[in-house]
């Protein structure tokens, strides 16, 4: 089972990055940068400023992945699906919203409630970028850093969509010890499915191992490194 990677984008404690730009992410550090609109979008964007922190980092990573693939700009809606793995989901937005429910003499906030689903940022992305495929968040009990990639490969193999923006998004929360924070998204598609140049190929071997250019990857950071190494020769650069 395999697909081509057309772009990668991420937000981590090490900053923003996409393709060969930015530092290799470090998702083990939990202090994420406070994102501003102009960090991601050149044009004024009132909606971005109103998003909750979870939605901001997820939408940012999706935007950067599309930018890396040179598919950020669009005219016709596109058959691209969205899949995001998350552990805590909208928990931070949930806590903030519920405080407005408990506040005496104040109505509950509809603006905050609108972001109390782990899929809200996927809806934002589908609206901004005209994406009409599947949109779902997934969670697994095992700490499986690349489950979203496996799910996306399966969805592409099943013909769920022509392409998938697949990734992971998580914020630390105060309820339990946490080991990772940030967001990483890849634009994946079956060869020839979208009109953009593929950058690297990701493969799932019969034994379940995931590889990019024959490098075994087991973590999100390794995925970014392997992707950069795969695209560096094409640009005559050192990774």
């Amino acid at each position: 089972m395999y697909a081509d990677i057309y772009g990668i984008g991420w937000v981590s404690a090490a900053g923003l990055g996409w393709g060969e730009r930015g530092k290799i992410p470090d998702f083990s550090q939990l202090e994420l940068p406070a994102l501003r609109r102009k960090d991601i979008f050149l044009e004024p964007d009132l909606r971005f400023g109103r998003l909750d922190p979870f939605s901001k980092i997820g939408l940012s990573a999706i935007t950067l992945a599309l930018r890396d693939a040179e598919m950020e700009v669009w005219e016709q809606k596109r058959d691209i699906g969205l899949i995001a793995a998350t552990r805590s989901g909208s928990l931070s937005a949930d806590r903030e919203y519920f405080q407005t429910v408990l506040a005496p003499d104040e109505p509950a906030s509809p603006q905050l409630f609108a972001y109390t689903l782990s899929t809200c940022f996927l809806g934002e992305a589908s609206i901004r970028f005209g994406l009409t495929g599947i949109a779902a968040a997934i969670a697994t009990p095992e700490e499986s850093p690349l489950q979203w990639l496996i799910q996306a490969l399966e969805m592409l193999a099943d013909g769920e969509a022509a392409a998938m923006l697949a990734g992971w998004c998580d914020l630390p929360d105060d309820f339990s010890p946490y080991t990772a924070a940030g967001a990483l998204f890849c634009l994946l598609a079956r060869p020839g499915a979208i009109p953009a140049p593929p950058r690297a190929r990701v493969q799932r071997e019969p034994n379940g191992t995931i590889t990019i250019a024959n490098q075994i990857i087991t973590t999100r950071e390794q995925l970014v490194r392997a992707y950069r190494q795969a695209i560096a020769p094409a640009r005559g650069e050192q990774p």
């Binding site: 429910v101 509950a108 509809p110 899929t119 996927l122 609206i127 099943d158 309820f175």
Partner: protein, 379 residues
């Protein structure tokens, strides 16, 4: 080669009771919507919902209790069964307790623990995953389970959808002006919003070949599935129903069916002005000649959020089992655009194909196409 997907067992628990009781009450035109006592509704648009009795103890979370209702009814699953869960706000009562400075179960806050609970109730070595897609969560989980079996990646998948009615969700829909002041009226000209419900459903899907080899009853087959996004608005559906149309067309194509093959539609039918209008618009585009019979159950059991797709799938299969379509509880004056299609009384049904649709926040849409089993199974 694609493997045929069979539904071989199912269990449901709603505010009306188990699957058989829910079906009987539904066909009798009853509703479980009633004034709720669970929390103070003074500041909200309504005091109505369709709820099960709730244990006031911390543990287990009410979400877990809903699952436990299903375990006895469904029975054992094969040890290599994959587990797919579906929910929007699993364990939300525990977040409420934390917010109120009460003792709470922190583990229950994370949706992945739905799989841990499924594994406890249905021991299995198969992999597990929870899907969230707003009010289309369990419809999407059933679609992915079907795709997994069709592709041969597994021969047995248990899909479990569960959601509870919490003040968290109730207050939110009230703040969005989405709740009806009286019981909801799906597809009615006088509809004014939705009524929340809660419940859970578990469906065991299996490769039909394996089911036959093991002598398991095939209650129905899932012949087609499709998911699509409107790419329109974060809370309101696209008025032209573009995403729902696309999801339905994908399901039809997967099933190699034409629209003329559809004998009935079990719609999402929340009772909101925009959702119901969107659905009928989409269906009229899909069925330009004439609409098949359309029904919805949320007027009887409320909107069960992430559990809706699974509960409503089980009830769709009951239509095949009982050769009956239930009436759409809550309709008094059906929408003009679908006046002859909306079921207003329990109706004899000899059809063999039902289309099930659900839609959710973010513009998510999912569709499933069920076919009647060739063999009659007496429950």
């Amino acid at each position: 080669m694609s493997h045929q997907v069979a539904v071989v067992a199912m269990a449901v628990h709603t505010a009306m009771g188990d699957l058989d009781t829910t079906w009987q009450e539904l066909c009798a035109g009853k509703s479980a919507i009633a004034p709720l006592q669970r929390f103070d509704t003074t500041n909200y648009l309504t005091n109505l919902a369709a709820l099960l009795p709730q244990n006031s103890d911390v543990s287990p979370s009410h979400s877990i209790t809903l699952l436990e209702h299903l375990a006895t009814d469904l029975g054992v699953v094969p040890s290599n069964t994959m587990l797919f869960g579906a929910t929007t706000k699993w364990g939300i009562d525990q977040l409420e307790r934390a917010g109120r400075q009460l003792p709470y179960d922190a583990n229950a806050l994370y949706s992945a623990t739905l799989i841990e609970q499924m594994r406890r109730l249905w021991p299995s070595k198969g992999a597990g995953e929870v899907f969230a897609a707003a009010c289309a969560s369990s419809t999407l989980a059933l679609a992915r389970a079907s795709a997994t079996i069709a592709a041969g990646r597994s021969s047995s998948v248990l899909v479990c959808g569960v959601d509870m009615c919490s003040e968290f969700v109730f207050s939110g829909f009230s703040a969005l002006q989405g709740l009806a002041p009286e019981a909801c009226r799906p597809f009615c000209q006088q509809r004014r919003g939705l009524t929340l419900g809660e419940g859970a459903a578990a469906l065991l899907l299996m490769d039909a070949k394996r089911a036959r080899a093991e002598g398991r009853p095939i209650l129905a087959t899932i012949a087609g599935w499709g998911t699509a996004s409107d790419a329109h608005h974060i809370t309101a559906p696209a008025r032209d129903g573009c995403g729902l149309q696309l999801a339905c067309r994908k399901a039809l194509a997967k099933a190699a069916c034409d629209v003329s093959d559809i004998d009935a539609i079990h719609a999402h039918g929340t009772g909101t002005v925009y959702n119901d209008a969107m659905e009928i618009t989409a269906f009229r585009q899909l069925f330009p000649e004439s609409l098949p019979l359309i029904f919805g159950v949320k007027g009887a059991i409320g909107h069960t959020l992430g559990a809706a797709g699974a509960i409503e799938t089980a009830l769709s299969i009951q239509c095949f089992q009982n050769n009956t379509l239930p009436l759409t509880v809550g309709v008094e004056t059906p929408m003009t655009e679908a006046a002859n299609a909306i079921t207003r009384q329990t109706t004899p049904f000899t059809g063999t194909t039902i289309l099930k649709t659900n839609s959710g926040f973010g513009g998510i849409n999912a569709a499933l196409l069920f076919k009647k089993s060739e063999v009659v199974h007496v429950r």
